[in-house]
């Protein structure tokens, strides 16, 4: 009577796994970002690639240098740092000096994620922390928008990109305003078709709404993220801004303009859906999405800045633990009254 067959492995059930791991999910999102990155290169040329490379390098460097996993740098495997870098890069203007972009990446991971304890512990979306930092530290660079380079001048690099740290960037001759800026300060609305196709100036990743939308739909079908969050954000923005537009004919932008302009699509699909900083339950996702949508409209229409997606998502990130608490799913066989 052998007490044990030594070659047999003892593990706890279940013995099957779905096989979808964190790195695979991150890779799916990075692939899902691919067309957006390509669109950015198409509209803004080599500068776009350089900015994205700078933010990603900063983010990865912070993860390798400060990540807590043993052995050091092992946490890089989960792929979240490079994703943070890419998303951050897509929110920046094409002409931003590269050293600033790199600092943004460092701050995103080094301040936005690691001090909380790394992936899964951070309260705020790291990419948006990086952007908020840049906006506070370098407001000028973050609001000087260069117009598109166009496919013919792919290798044209904005002179400001290569500015040395802390030196005055050369004034850019091609500066132009974003659709939201034109709306806020000049009361000029850009056509919805231009917004969708990207014939505007703006951040690297936000100009071509159509590409973002298609990528988002594909990823939602592949269940990379919870589709409820972007859907609820967009519907809320449409509804709230539509109501305001209907009441104040002519004074406020149309809901379609609100939907297509600025970073709304990019933020709703790639940032608000971050599983770490958005609510876990379906009901929580609806609350979160509605909150982001309302805040976006409020900030855009009555705030001091033309764009409000970043702060809207960050504010709702802060509310996420609370939302999770009130939207805890009811287990089978438990009435609603049980606290």
């Amino acid at each position: 009577m052998t007490p044990r067959d030594p070659h047999l492995l003892l593990q706890a059930a279940p013995f099957l796994r779905r096989g979808i791991t964190t790195p695979r999910l991150m890779t799916e999102v990075v692939i899902g970002l691919g067309p957006v990155v390509l669109a950015a290169c198409y509209y803004f040329g080599l500068s776009a690639l350089l900015v994205l490379a700078a933010t990603s390098a900063g983010a990865v460097a912070a993860e390798v240098a400060l990540g807590s996993a043993r052995p050091r740098g092992a946490s890089i495997r989960d792929g979240s740092a490079i994703l943070t870098g890419l998303v951050l890069g897509l929110t920046l203007p094409p002409g931003i000096p590269l050293w600033m972009a790199c600092i943004g990446g460092l701050v995103a991971v080094g301040l936005g994620k690691l001090p909380f304890g790394g992936l899964g512990q951070n309260l705020f979306n790291p990419a948006l922390i990086g952007r908020a930092f840049l906006q506070a530290a370098f407001p000028g660079a973050l609001t000087s928008w260069t117009s598109q380079a166009g496919p013919s001048s792919f290798f044209h690099v904005h002179p400001s990109s290569l500015a040395l740290p802390f030196m005055q960037a050369a004034p850019d001759a091609l500066a132009s305003a974003t659709p939201l800026g034109m709306m806020k300060f000049e009361h000029h609305a850009t056509a919805f078709s231009d917004l969708l196709l990207g014939n505007t100036s703006g951040s690297l990743g936000e100009t071509c709404g159509l590409v973002i939308l298609i990528c988002g739909i594909v990823m939602a079908i592949r269940r990379v993220f919870d589709w409820r969050i972007p859907v609820c954000i967009l519907l809320t923005v449409l509804a709230v801004s539509g109501a305001i537009w209907a009441f104040g004919q002519g004074r406020y932008p149309s809901p379609w303009f609100m939907l297509g302009s600025g970073g709304l699509l990019l933020g709703a699909i790639y940032m608000a859906t971050d599983p770490v900083t958005s609510p876990m339950s379906p009901r929580g996702a609806w609350i979160f999405g509605a909150g982001v949508g309302v805040l976006v409209v409020l900030i855009r229409l009555w705030g001091g800045l033309p764009e409000g997606v970043m702060y809207a998502i960050l504010l709702m990130n802060a509310a996420t633990p609370l939302i999770d608490r009130v939207s805890q799913p009811r287990p089978l066989g438990r009435g609603r009254a049980v606290a």
Partner: protein, 424 residues
Amino acid sequence: MTPLPLQRSFRHGVHPAEHKEATEHLPLERMPFVDRYVLPLGQHIGAPCRAVVRAGDRVRRGQLIAEPGGFVSIGLHSPVSGRVLDVGPHRHPNGQLVAAIRIEADPYSSQQITPGPTADPASLGLDEFLSHVQLAGLVGLGGAAFPSHVKYKLPEGKACERLLINGCECEPYLTCDHRVMVERPEAVVRGVELLAERLGAASSWIGVEMNKPDGFDALSRCVPAGATINISPLSVKYPQGAEKMLIEALFGEEVPAGKLPIDLGIVVNNVATMASLADSFDRGIPLIERALTVAGPGVDRPANLIVPIGTPIRDVLAHCGINQATRQVVMGGPMMGMPLATLDAPVLKGTSGLLAFTEDIVNHPTEYACVRARAGRYEDLEKSYVMDCMECGACTYTCPSGVPIVHLIRAAKLTIRQKKANKA
């Protein structure tokens, strides 16, 4: 082509790969008799049986060798004709040494079953009915091995309005219930009829997941016109075979936490249990064998076998051609089953499957940082209803970070129980 009937299901759940294709078309075949059998006295939920044989006694196939050791206990019968070797400690599949009766098969015996008493359940009083079920050694064959007569003894003031028969077999790999439905539908339906009549159930329902359309058809054909038995199609989802999930799927009703199906007037049993119930009353055959599935890449000839209870697992696997690549053997399904430390342990009444897994299945990906790590205390876990967890394993199956969530939950439940016990 007839339109597919409406398939019901419960909320949530997961869709693991089914892996049933290797065995779902294989007819049930008999496992040949082997030399020795091991029958643990405690292989059901409740008190162990009391042996009524001693070393050296000759026993016949189907003879009672141990009697119930209490109300929540059952009879145990010899699966072979032969000689009792000893009554002593032996390995249980869970790894512990437990009291067991070891029987050496008589190689010259014809292995004819000596039937026990048959009975017409309709003519029996309730107590006689229950004691017949108890002495026949009947347990739920779905895996938990809960004594059937305990389930049929309804608590004071409770009535069984609906009899619900579980034909989900939602665990991947397992196909033995499927084959029982296809090959013995008349026995299943007969069991349902006699039990429904005995319990006074107004209606009976057999829920079948529709990855078993032939099982659904076979059962449907066996139901006589005008009978109150409903064969209900269910969509395929795990863990639909859990009784509370099944009740939600079929009736849309929730069994309150901490309560039992009978509190809603429902008794839930497995399809194979119904067939063995019919056998015990109509043919006088006690529970001495059961259908189980042997599958997984570690066996060369996967099969649905009718195996005498007590057959050493090593013999069953050898019969199916266990190969050198096997790294893990699981008793039960791959979601809730139990890994075996030794193959000397025997097949039990609750053994629904034996799965031989190879390196590629047992090697799970590395654990990554949890994307929603939140430190908590045991008290908080209790508020998150951790004690309601039935450990189906769907969380661990899904977790992208490779965290063994259900195992952590088991640990938490244990700790909370111990804390409470210490306080009391």
